[in-house]
């Protein structure tokens, strides 16, 4: 069983989609590299840290992207972002059934600052354009760099998110918060606190992700197949009714948990038994306990 967390983007793709089915667009051989990194004497990558292409998943044609966390933390620069936007627009043009995004990213690539920020905004719009065209967009989050910054927002614009317990999904990284607001605000070296706050179990209990799986590529593959099937049975595009439901859930979350200081208090308030022991629960037992107690999702 290969660990999703420890695999590279290409190893994940290799095992996640049907064997031999990945057809990459603008792959490393095309050598489309960042036009901005050179002036900072930073290394470039021939794929700019993301592989995008067509593939099959359980026999069905899909489009898929995988971010490589080992190159600049998977951060989004001009080319990287354009590859994601191009993939999502191709999915619309080809009337694809689904796009799968294997996200591992710190968000905007600061080395490309302004260009990176606009690129993330374009990805966000492209995800919502795809949904409006009836293309299901599903995000997988389980890499060691987590999914942060603007891409943490993009993930929550998708139809569904699948996470591992080890996966992390948030906005500002703990180091950024500690630097800006002090160690007493968020101690980034307190690994347990970081995982309680950003990890898959907390996100599942809050309704921010729709599935938590064990840290194997095979588990992510099955969860991706299931998530796409589930999303395609429902309403793929945004609707006023769905956003009003989401609004009510987010307001309820703020009302019930806004005065709490630690995720463990939230888990207790949700009715989870022995909340302090939740970080130690293995995925299956956690899900059976959490399934009926988690906040409703979008």
């Amino acid at each position: 069983m290969s660990s999703y967390l420890e695999s590279t983007a290409r190893e994940r793709l290799d095992k996640l989609v049907d064997a031999g089915s990945f057809d990459e667009f603008l792959g490393p051989a095309a050598r489309v590299t960042s036009p901005h990194l050179g002036q900072l004497n930073a290394p470039v990558s021939f794929d700019d840290g993301v592989a995008v292409g067509a593939a099959r998943l359980d026999g069905a044609p899909i489009y898929v992207a995988a971010q490589e966390g080992s190159f600049m933390g998977g951060a989004v620069g001009e080319v990287h972002g354009a590859k994601l936007v191009g993939l999502l627009r191709r999915a619309v043009a080809q009337r694809a059934g689904a796009v799968l995004l294997l996200l591992e990213t710190g968000g905007v690539r600061l080395h490309e600052a302004n260009a990176g920020l606009i690129a993330v905004s374009e990805v966000m719009r492209a995800v919502l354009d795809a949904r409006a065209a009836g293309v299901a967009v599903v995000a997988l989050v389980g890499g060691s760099n987590g999914c942060f910054g603007g891409m943490g927002i993009v993930a929550r614009c998708c139809n569904a998110i699948v996470m591992s317990e080890e996966g992390r999904l948030a906005m500002s990284g703990p180091e950024v918060i500690e630097t800006a607001s002090g160690v007493e605000e968020f101690d980034s070296r307190d690994r347990a606190l970081v995982w309680r706050t950003t990890g898959g179990k907390h996100r599942f209990l809050l309704g921010d992700c729709q599935a938590v799986v064990a840290d194997t590529v095979a588990a992510f593959r099955q969860a991706a197949i299931d998530a796409i099937a589930r999303v395609r049975q429902g309403e793929i595009a945004l609707s006023l009714a769905a956003l009003e439901r989401e609004h009510a859930l987010l307001a309820e979350r703020l009302r019930r948990f806004g005065d709490m200081r630690d995720p463990v208090e939230i888990w207790g308030a949700l009715g989870m038994d022995d909340p302090a022991a939740i970080p130690m629960l293995e995925a299956e037992r956690f899900i059976s306990a959490a399934q009926t107690r988690r906040l409703g999702s979008e």
Binding site: A29, A30, S121, I177, F186, R253, D262
Partner: protein, 238 residues
């Protein structure tokens, strides 16, 4: 610049905009009818409450005033940097705001944004950058992160970034750089009322920013990469 100064100049027919804890909402009169106004002031840090408040105003507008155009007034120092916001899932609140603006557009509300003071990062991509088109005043600053923080994270010396920010559009915080890269449609000078009317007249739902960035020379690779992938190609056309 103060939002009231901007509003007074932009809405000579009058406006009724409330300010509460850096959150702005209300409406104003244009020759063709009312426009909804939503946004922030005071370089607001965008936390879960103010993201939700803006989203709620946009949703109510879709329900109660179908088709009414929306102006988003942007002044933010970016997302609030607190453990509590992360614990509550601030990315979900910000995504919700972005989705509400997106839905408004798809329901026929023309949406225009104006950076009248400062725009940063996450507070910007879920508000101003979600509009049909985003504009800026000449003195506005737009950036991803302050240079000291950027230096810490990128490990590029701050002096090097300061030098780059003076000459390089990717690092410099001025609106003209965002204009060149296609992130800003135009910089408003002079008659703000006329500029708003013109922006509403031109508003459309397509994201053309990468094409603008190419045409204006500020982002030369994004559009060719997008086009190659939409065509399913394995190499860039040379």
């Amino acid at each position: 610049m103060e939002w009231k100064t901007v509003a007074a100049s932009m809405f000579p027919l009058g406006f009724d905009i409330a300010e509460r804890d850096d959150f702005l909402c209300g409406s104003a009169q244009l020759a063709g009818g009312p426009i909804a106004v939503v946004g922030t002031c005071g370089h607001a840090p965008i936390g879960v409450e103010i993201a939700l408040a803006q989203a709620g105003f946009v949703l109510d507008g879709i329900r109660q005033h179908p088709g009414r155009p929306i102006l988003i007034l942007v002044d933010t120092q970016g997302q609030r940097l607190r453990h509590r916001d992360e614990m509550l899932g601030i990315n979900s609140y910000m995504a919700h705001l972005g989705k509400c603006v997106d839905l408004a557009r798809r329901h026929g509300h023309r949406t225009v944004a104006l950076v009248y003071d400062q725009a940063l990062s996450g507070g910007f991509i879920t508000s101003g950058l979600m509009a049909d088109a985003c504009y800026a005043l000449p003195d506005a600053t737009i950036r991803v992160m302050g240079l000291p923080a950027m230096a810490r994270i990128t490990k590029v010396p701050e002096e090097r970034l300061v030098a780059l920010a003076a000459t390089n559009p990717v690092f410099a915080p001025g609106p003209e750089n965002y204009l060149r890269m296609g992130g800003i449609e135009a910089i408003w000078q002079g008659d703000l009322a006329a500029a708003l009317e013109q922006a509403l007249g031109q508003a459309h739902g397509d994201d053309t920013r990468s094409a603008l960035g190419l045409a204006r020379g500020g982002r030369k690779l994004a559009q060719p990469v997008i086009e190659a992938i939409v065509a399913g190609k394995h190499a860039l056309a040379s």
